[in-house]
Symmetry: C2
Subunit: 153 residues, 2 copies
Amino acid sequence: MPDTSDPFDLTAFLPYLLNQAAEATSRSFQQVYRARHGLTRTQWRVMAHLGRFGAMTARDICRLSHVEKTKVSRAVAALQVRGWLRRDPAPHDGRAEMLSLTETGQAVFADLGLAAQDHDTQLRQTLGATQVATLETALRALITQGYPHDQGD
Amino acid sequence: MPDTSDPFDLTAFLPYLLNQAAEATSRSFQQVYRARHGLTRTQWRVMAHLGRFGAMTARDICRLSHVEKTKVSRAVAALQVRGWLRRDPAPHDGRAEMLSLTETGQAVFADLGLAAQDHDTQLRQTLGATQVATLETALRALITQGYPHDQGD
DNA sequence: TAAGATTGAGTACTCAATCTTG
DNA sequence: CAAGATTGAGTACTCAATCTTA
């Protein structure tokens, strides 16, 4: 009869493995947006959402990205100061503002997008198409499972 | 001919998906080690390594966990103050110290280990055995690929 | 009162510099 | 000088409280 009180093995813990893989794959690209453009991860994510989906409010970014609202607020403020992001009054709601990338911001996003695309292509080649497909399915299942509510954090 | 200058889609970026999945699966367990035992993530990881593998030096923990050395140093100091970790001189090397969990620390680790095991079991049930197996293979491949050097960070 | 958003205080992280021993 | 480990300063994050508008 097996010993059911074996010590817990962190290295087989799914959240730990996921975190290690996330860190490992993020590291090299982080250098790009940090060293080349002086962006934090949250700032890069805000730009990526606005660059991909167009103008939206801070709240929309929070819902889409699961990034906490104070992080988004400070990232937006920093990006505006640098002239990479513009705020316009939101129609029908005086509380919110429509956020969008300026032309300069769009150029930065385009540059980072190319680098990210290269990095992603490399990762997918490492795994192969079949493994990538199953990996994506599993990740999206975990993400959906993990965020049953409106607002993360 | 397809437009090759489509805006980059963050939501299909592998590092982003991995990070979202890691966050989603970590969130509920984080409540356990934070709310129930007042631990940070690094402190929990240090305890998990010592609890699973026994006494080792701070450097060993760094290599195994890919956690940066100053984070380990401060986590070790905090755990020692709480009486959950003991330092003993390392044989053959006056610079290093052998770290290990005290009896109290082992009890905390046992409690957290059970909770972590439960959480992991739930996640694996959500995905199913087949998907878990392919997921683990892919994650380990990415982790190995991403840490070709001795020391992360 | 609730929702969108921001601010302030405390915590944790990051990077370079430092200390001690090999 | 290398390596194990710690410290200090600056940055980013976290949580509660606040401000404004719906």
